[in-house]
């Protein structure tokens, strides 16, 4: 018998496809979200007039030519000899560039370590599995009204704290803290640490929720408390996963620490902002330097994360 010819119209097959199509799972919430996003995109573009700003096309073009011409290192522009570029770059590195680079890395590292240390005690409190009257689903004795009330609100409060911490941009936190604590490095470290506290709280919370529950249930049934459960059965099991997230966030911190210097402290961002408008070549060199640090940080972090998996 010949196989059925699929190119001809088959009403029964079309009907089956229509039934499958009608029966597919739908989400009105997702559909509404999609329409809202689409509408917002259209409105954003329609409201962005004049799209290219108020400068004339000639002015924009002449600005661009000035900018592009200024990117070539000054000694090369004057002599036409590219061998002059290397000593010029070395001079910039010695004149604050190297120190700014180390400061950027130091701020990012100190911030992520601080965030990681502070987030750990909050993770059991944020966990839906532990932060309840009967952790791991194992009831152990009676809990008073106060205790029940505490465990009812603890999880949502800590999780909302994480949402709040990560919602404020680190640049904004640093800007406000600098005016309160003066021009020093702490505001930058604290700003990055607060923002990453919120992000690590969310990521770490997910890891704790998904951790294998058998060992903790057994420990709970044997009488272990919440902190003991977390420290002995969950933390050791998810340690590597935590490290993966810390390295991933460190990589982002390096990028953010670079620009926080634009607020006035010596990181690469300060050198970039200082050169703007007068020394395009220096600005571009520092941009390239910050990009290389970020790429290097990215490679180190990827290598470490791969080794930890």
């Amino acid at each position: 018998m010949n196989p059925p010819d699929k190119t001809t119209f088959d009403p029964a097959r079309s009907e089956r496809i229509a039934i499958l199509r009608r029966g597919r799972e739908r989400s009105p919430f997702l559909a509404a979200s999609g329409w809202i996003v689409l509408g917002a995109v259209v409105v954003s573009w329609l409201a962005s007039r004049p799209l290219l700003g108020r400068l004339s096309a000639e002015r924009r073009w002449s600005n661009f030519l000035d900018f592009a011409g200024g990117l070539v290192p000054a000694p090369v522009r004057e002599s036409g000899d590219w061998s002059m570029a290397l000593p010029w770059a070395g001079g910039l590195l010695a004149d604050g560039g190297g120190e700014a680079l180390l400061n950027t890395l130091g701020i990012a590292t100190a911030a992520i370590l601080l965030a990681a240390a502070f987030v750990l005690p909050f993770l059991p409190l944020a966990s839906r599995w532990l932060s309840r009257v009967d952790p791991c689903g194992v009831a152990a004795g009676r809990t008073g009204r106060m205790g029940r009330g505490f465990w009812f609100v603890a999880g949502p409060v800590v999780r909302f704290g994480f949402v709040l911490a990560r919602s404020v941009p680190e640049y904004l936190i640093a800007f406000l803290l600098l005016s309160l604590l003066g021009l020093q490095v702490w505001p930058l470290v604290l700003a990055l640490a607060i923002h990453n506290f919120g992000i690590l709280g969310r990521l770490g919370g997910e890891v704790v929720e998904n951790a294998d529950s058998a060992a903790s249930t057994l420990a709970r049934a044997s009488g272990a408390g919440r902190a003991g459960l977390f420290a002995t059965t969950i933390f050791p099991a998810v340690f590597n996963r935590f490290l993966i997230y810390y390295f991933y966030r460190w990589e982002t911190c390096v990028k953010d620490a670079t620009v926080l210097g634009m607020l006035g402290l010596l990181t690469l961002g300060k050198l970039i902002a200082r050169s703007k408008g007068f020394f395009w070549d220096r600005m571009f060199f520092h941009v390239l330097l910050s990009a290389s640090v970020i790429v290097a940080g990215d490679l180190v972090s990827t290598w470490l994360r791969r080794r930890l998996r």
Partner: protein, 291 residues
């Protein structure tokens, strides 16, 4: 010989000790001392006092008496700032997502034909490597620095702000999209290849639809980041709520600063919760819902 568990514990302990030492080294290099966590002098203590006192009494009207009577109310101005912030974020993502889809496709190997002749494999490898390098360059420059570069080159404009955000975001999105596409199960794609579909058809029908829920989830997460970055663009002179915060702060109008901050945080929290709800729905249906 130590039992494996003991060795394991020793490694963790060494790692934790190493991190503590690393923090001390950073603190020494940066000059971080516990005293630095407090305002350094009387003037800063006073400023901190008025700043935090203003948190309990955010402004509903301008603190500056010289603002003309016919100026829009402060809350209206703040909402306008939020809309401008949203405008840049939506505009930037509408540029970044299509660019990232192209980069994600070119930067993945899931669609490569099998078997592949050496010359074609070399060509595809070159496209793959070039795309990944481009994505690396795009995301290795922070959006604020992109903004500085673009504004310096072509002046302040809405498009410049959107492009400044879109460039690094397309690099980051493209990298993650390519990884999500490569990690997707290939059974459906293999079946399609076996009945004679070409590589692009196989990708569009067998791989892309399965990766779509994860792509949407990640794109929405990046939208949350774009919103935060858009607010910060105000600090380089682009009109978003960040600019209003900076100006009010410079004038020491802290009650106004708190009004803007509360509204910004409320918006960011709403978008965060919206994103979480979308993630929950998409993850509960791995096949993807018909949105």
């Amino acid at each position: 010989m130590k039992p494996p568990l003991q060795t394991h514990r020793g490694q963790k302990r060494r790692a934790l000790l190493g991190f503590a030492l690393l923090f001390l080294v950073c603190a020494w290099w940066l000059g971080l001392t516990p005293a630095g966590l407090l305002p350094p002098d009387e003037r800063h203590w006073e400023r901190a006092g008025s700043f935090f006192a203003a948190a309990l009494d955010p402004a509903f009207d301008y603190e500056d008496d010289s603002v003309p009577d016919d100026a829009p109310p402060l809350v209206w101005k703040a909402c306008e700032g939020l809309l401008l912030t949203l405008r840049f974020a939506f505009g930037a993502m509408s540029l970044a997502v299509p660019a990232a889809l192209v980069l994600g496709f070119l930067g993945s190997s899931a669609w490569w034909p099998e078997p592949c002749v050496p010359r074609l494999r070399f060509l595809l490898g070159a496209v793959y490597g070039g795309t990944r390098l481009l994505m690396s360059v795009l995301r290795s420059i922070h959006e604020l620095i992109w903004a500085l570069l673009i504004l310096s080159a072509v002046g302040v404009s809405p498009l410049a702000g959107m492009v400044a955000l879109a460039l690094p975001f397309s690099g980051t999105l493209g990298k993650v999209f390519s990884e999500l596409i490569d990690e997707e199960a290939r059974d459906a794609a293999e079946a399609l290849k076996a009945i004679g579909h070409g590589p692009v058809q196989t990708f569009l029908v067998g791989i892309f639809p399965r990766a779509l829920p994860n792509l949407i989830t990640y794109a929405f997460y990046r939208f949350e980041c774009a919103l935060r970055s858009s607010a910060v663009l105000g600090f380089v002179g682009i009109e978003t709520i960040g600019l209003y915060i900076e100006l009010s702060h410079e004038e020491a109008h802290y009650r106004e600063v708190w009004t803007y901050l509360y509204l910004l945080v409320a918006l960011l929290v709403i978008v965060d919760l919206w994103g979480a709800a979308i993630r929950r729905r998409l993850q509960s249906d791995p096949g993807g819902c018909a949105a």
